[in-house]
Amino acid sequence: MNPLNTLRTHDTLASEQDAVWQSVCSEQDLVINSGVVVWLDGAQVALFYLPDAQGKTLYAIDNHDPKSGANVIGRGLIADIKGELVVASPIYKQHFRLEDGTCLEYPQQRLRVWPVRLSRGDVEIGCRARG
């Protein structure tokens, strides 16, 4: 298969109830306070694990940086900007909110986010229910 022709098929879910939870990796694969990337049926999903954060501790966000066109978001630095958790793209340093993927500097650059959870030592991403 030519990977270039792979289209993204995972839209943001309306609610987690619709989710089909798909296991992508183990908790051991995560790096504390930092990111790793998983392959999800042609999509690249960056996982950020913040065990000490208040509230949510795990986030799944698109690895693709729209500004540079490179797949690098998972290698970005986590920051807290005015109380919101964001990731800074490692190439041009713009910030994306982990919660909803909005870019602070360029609101039109929004990244896709996925529901994600830890389940018995596995990391699971919520995908759209089929059919």
Binding site: V31, W39, A70, L77
Partner: protein, 853 residues
């Protein structure tokens, strides 16, 4: 006829004789005011080098060379329309034919400016010759003093005035036992009163300089224990190996006398308020000019004259020269001395207030007028912090406070210092360049928010530098008044500057970001500003492996993955090639790796090899192979020591005087792995030809016959800056000690992401202060800085070798943690036999990504 030719033919010829500070300032002013539209300018200089800073001449012995003392870029005199004739003395002026005559021929002038300066007066004393008749004015004079000092133990300066004390300082910095012999009963008789002279004498003697007052040298004969014996009256004598005469200056008016211009009563070319001599086509400025019977031996009045003449010649309205304030503020032999206006209280009816502190040899005198409302003058010895305020009171005729004495009492007594806000807009802040508070304010209103920028825009503080403190106060006051608060907080999580955080980390022994955030910050996470900054501070202080779990989340991606991310998300890999020296086997090993992983290969600027296009998951394999071949990481990804560039040096080069490669290897091996506020580049040249371009580096080392010259704070890049000569003829151990201290002091005090060049420009006190701290250990920090550096050096470990030992650390080097495939979106095309990233325009076959609304 062609209009350009017409213009050229209309040009008159303007000749400037003399390229000292005043002559040079005049040329600058002429250019600035558009003189080149009216004149072809010829500048004749007797000296072989272009104008240099005579005010700071003594620094020639403490590390500055002719080039760094030069007042301008060489480029100024390459401006079309200007010709500088160096080492060409003017022999004669023929006023009838409007010609100046040199050994190389004659040049016709329309207008002529005499800026010939002055020469040292040497009283005629029997036996004074060679090393017993040295003077202190030009670089050549200083070379002669240096040569004479080579085999000397003791040196004497005849003359206890301002220049004499400067000369004594120079002798002291050459390592001689220095003595001052003064004819008058006190030091600096022109500027100081009796008590001031006494206080200064006490301070200077404390520094080990002998002071001999009321002594007239009658003859000089051969000495018994030293080369010469100076014989005074009453059979007193003093023996010495060399004698420097600094008994006053005389206007250099020989040419004016030769062409029969009117000469003043105390010498000098008589000028009117427009600086015109008795010949209307000839002007005279600076120390060679006599206005109203007075000569002016300071730079500020000379600059005033230069500006006035430049304006006249450019058909602008000149500010007439109406005499000058001879107030002066100096540090002589490290002692503050200030003299303002009527220091002796000679004005009829003048009254004085005096403050004498014999325990600290400190003295202050305030002279006020008969009504007690205005300052007429002042004398300061031991503490010049009172100078700016007193000078402003006098220059601007500001009414005195009720208790005038409070102006000279110790500050703890609650003296009402004159705030910068109280100064009128017309107040002169910089008298060298005639910069008023008003022009500083308009520069600020024009958007200037940076002190360095303000200096270059207004030229304030670029003459003698005496106004530095006042300029800063005015600047900060005006910024605050405009509501521009300079918030120096690192970011929203730390209300501290980088320097303050550095101190907290050091003092409290903090070793993790979390600890620092919990104790001194806010929030739980930090951000992409404070995390790398703190990561860098922790590394500078403790040098723990950068891949330790607590440090990983702090680093920018380059430090995290120990490689440099490129635009398509791949990395470049740079193994260390210390000093640019590499064996054939290692070169082959790099080639093998590059070929195997299809890496684009380029020789980088720092004499090493960059390998581009590695994907994340390939980095550990690539490094395993490089380390196997004997390489270690080059830290190209870090704000840290990068490279030490070197020329081949004395082992191969017929000009080399030292082994520059060996020194480069020593330096690179010592500082590799040192993390700092910004990247650090070094270079070592094996001779003065400087093939390694060391003067463009943060730390540059240039070989001399006797050792090494050290240059610091140079920079290439966006804002190039020449490194400054810091110390000369160092042996290996001293060189390394100075670099240790310099680097650690920079790390301790610089702002985040501040290169050494910008740091140096922001250092209050400038290069002198840096020398005091590093060379003379004025802060007593030397040992501490060295031991901190030693800790970093001894903890060095190749980060890649360390990471490869730990499966946990390698966990992150996976493009996908759940899949072995490479990133399918990375594409290369071939160009000139190598791979390069595909460009967006070449991607037309690839469907556009789905965007979400």
């Amino acid at each position: 006829m062609n209009s350009i030719v017409a213009t050229l033919n209309k040009l008159q010829t303007l000749i400037v004789i003399g390229n000292g500070m005043v002559g040079h300032h005049c040329v600058e002013q002429l250019i600035e005011r558009g003189a080149l539209n009216h004149y072809r300018v010829h500048v004749f200089s007797e000296e072989p080098v272009r104008a240099y800073d005579r005010v700071h001449l003594s620094e020639y012995f403490t590390g500055r060379d002719a080039e760094s003392l030069a007042l301008s870029d060489a480029a100024l005199y390459q401006t079309p329309g200007i010709t500088l004739h160096l080492g060409v003395p003017v022999l004669e002026i023929d006023r009838a034919r409007h010609e100046v005559i040199t050994a190389q021929g004659s040049v016709t002038y329309d207008k002529l400016i005499l800026a010939t300066g002055s020469y040292p007066f040497v009283p005629s004393i029997e036996g004074a010759q060679d090393d017993s008749r040295l003077v202190y004015r030009t670089l050549e004079d200083l070379d002669a003093i240096r040569a004479a000092a080579a085999n000397a133990r003791r040196g004497v300066v005849v003359g206890g005035g301002l220049l004499g004390l400067e000369a004594a300082n120079a002798l002291k910095s050459l390592g001689l036992e220095a003595h001052v012999v003064e004819f008058a009963p006190r030091l600096m008789p022109v500027q100081l009163d009796e008590h001031g002279g006494l206080a200064l004498k006490a301070q200077i003697e404390k520094l080990g300089v002998g002071v001999h007052l009321s002594r007239a040298t009658q003859s000089i004969s051969a000495g018994e224990h030293y080369r010469y014996r100076m014989n005074f009256a009453n059979d007193e004598f003093l023996e010495t190996d060399l004698i420097v005469f600094s008994a006053g200056i005389r206007a250099q008016d020989a040419l004016a006398r030769q062409c029969v211009l009117e000469i003043g009563p105390r010498g000098g070319v008589v000028i009117d308020d427009a600086c015109r001599s008795s010949d209307p086509d000839i002007y005279a400025i600076g120390e060679c000019a006599s206005w109203n019977g007075s000569l002016f031996g300071l730079v500020a009045p000379g600059y005033q004259m230069a500006r006035s003449v430049a304006a006249t010649l450019c058909k602008q309205i000149p500010e007439p020269f109406m005499g000058a304030d001879m107030s002066t503020k100096l540090k002589l032999l490290g002692v503050d001395v200030g003299s303002i206006g009527d220091a002796h209280g000679a004005t009829p009816g003048a009254r004085s207030f005096q403050f004498i502190d014999e325990s600290n040899a400190s003295y202050r005198r305030l002279v006020v007028d008969a009504t007690g409302k205005q300052v007429l003058g002042a004398v300061l010895v031991g503490d010049n912090s009172y100078y700016d305020t007193l000078l402003q009171y006098m220059q601007n005729a500001i009414a005195l406070p009720k208790e005038p004495a409070s102006l000279i009492l110790p500050s703890s007594a609650g003296a009402p210092t004159l705030g910068p806000g109280a100064l009128p807009q017309s107040a002169t802040v910089c008298s060298c360049h005639n910069v008023t508070k008003g022009s500083i304010c308009s520069a600020i209103d024009g958007g200037c928010t940076d002190l360095a920028q303000l200096k270059s825009q207004t030229k304030a503080c670029t003459g003698c530098g005496g106004c530095a403190g006042l300029l800063k106060q005015v600047f900060e006051h005006e910024l605050t008044a405009r509501g521009v608060s300079v918030d120096k907080s690192l970011c929203e999580h730390f209300a501290y500057t980088r320097q303050e955080l550095y101190a907290l980390v050091r003092v409290e022994g903090v070793i993790t970001f979390e600890e620092l955030l919990a104790r001194h910050g806010s929030g739980h996470t930090g951000c992409d500003v404070c995390k790398p900054a703190v990561g860098s501070i922790l590394a500078s202080c403790w040098n723990q492996p950068i891949m330790d779990p607590s440090l990983v989340p702090l680093q920018d991606t380059n430090d995290t993955f120990m490689a440099n991310m490129q635009k398509n998300g791949t990395y470049s890999v740079v193994p260390r090639i210390a000093g640019g020296e590499i064996t054939a086997d290692k070169l082959i090993a790099i080639g093998v790796v590059a070929k195997k992983y299809e890496l684009y290969t380029k020789i980088a600027g720092g004499q090493r090899i960059d390998l581009f296009g590695a994907q994340l998951h390939q980095l550990p394999d690539i490094w395993a192979e490089l380390i196997e071949a004997g390489f270690e990481t080059g830290h190209a990804y870090g704000k840290s020591t990068r490279t030490v560039k070197s020329c081949v040096g004395s082992t191969w080069c017929r000009y080399g005087v030292q082994d520059s490669v060996k020194m480069a290897l020593l330096i690179e091996d010592r500082y590799k792995g040192l993390r700092s506020p910004h990247k650090l580049k070094f270079a070592v040249s094996g001779c003065t030809r400087e093939c390694a371009e060391a003067q463009s580096k943060d730390v540059g080392v240039i070989a001399t016959e006797k050792g090494w010259n050290l240059y610091v704070c140079g920079n290439g890049g966006m804002r190039p800056r020449h490194a400054e000569l810091f110390a000369t003829d160092l042996d290996d151990a001293t060189l390394i000690r100075y670099i240790d201290r310099f680097l650690m002091f920079y790390i301790r005090t610089a702002d985040k992401l501040q290169r050494t060049s910008v740091w140096r420009e922001s250092l209050e006190g400038g290069l002198d202060y840096l020398k005091e701290v590093i060379i003379n250990d004025s802060l007593g920090l030397g040992d501490e800085l060295e031991s901190q550096m030693q800790l970093v050096v001894s903890r060095y470990e190749c980060e890649w070798a360390n990471a490869l030992k730990s499966p946990e650390k390698l966990k992150r080097f996976r493009t996908f943690v759940n899949d072995k495939r490479p990133d399918p979106d990375i594409h290369f095309v071939e160009e000139r036999g190598q791979r390069r990233p595909i460009m967006a325009s070449e991607l037309n076959l690839i469907p556009v990504r789905e965007e979400i609304a």
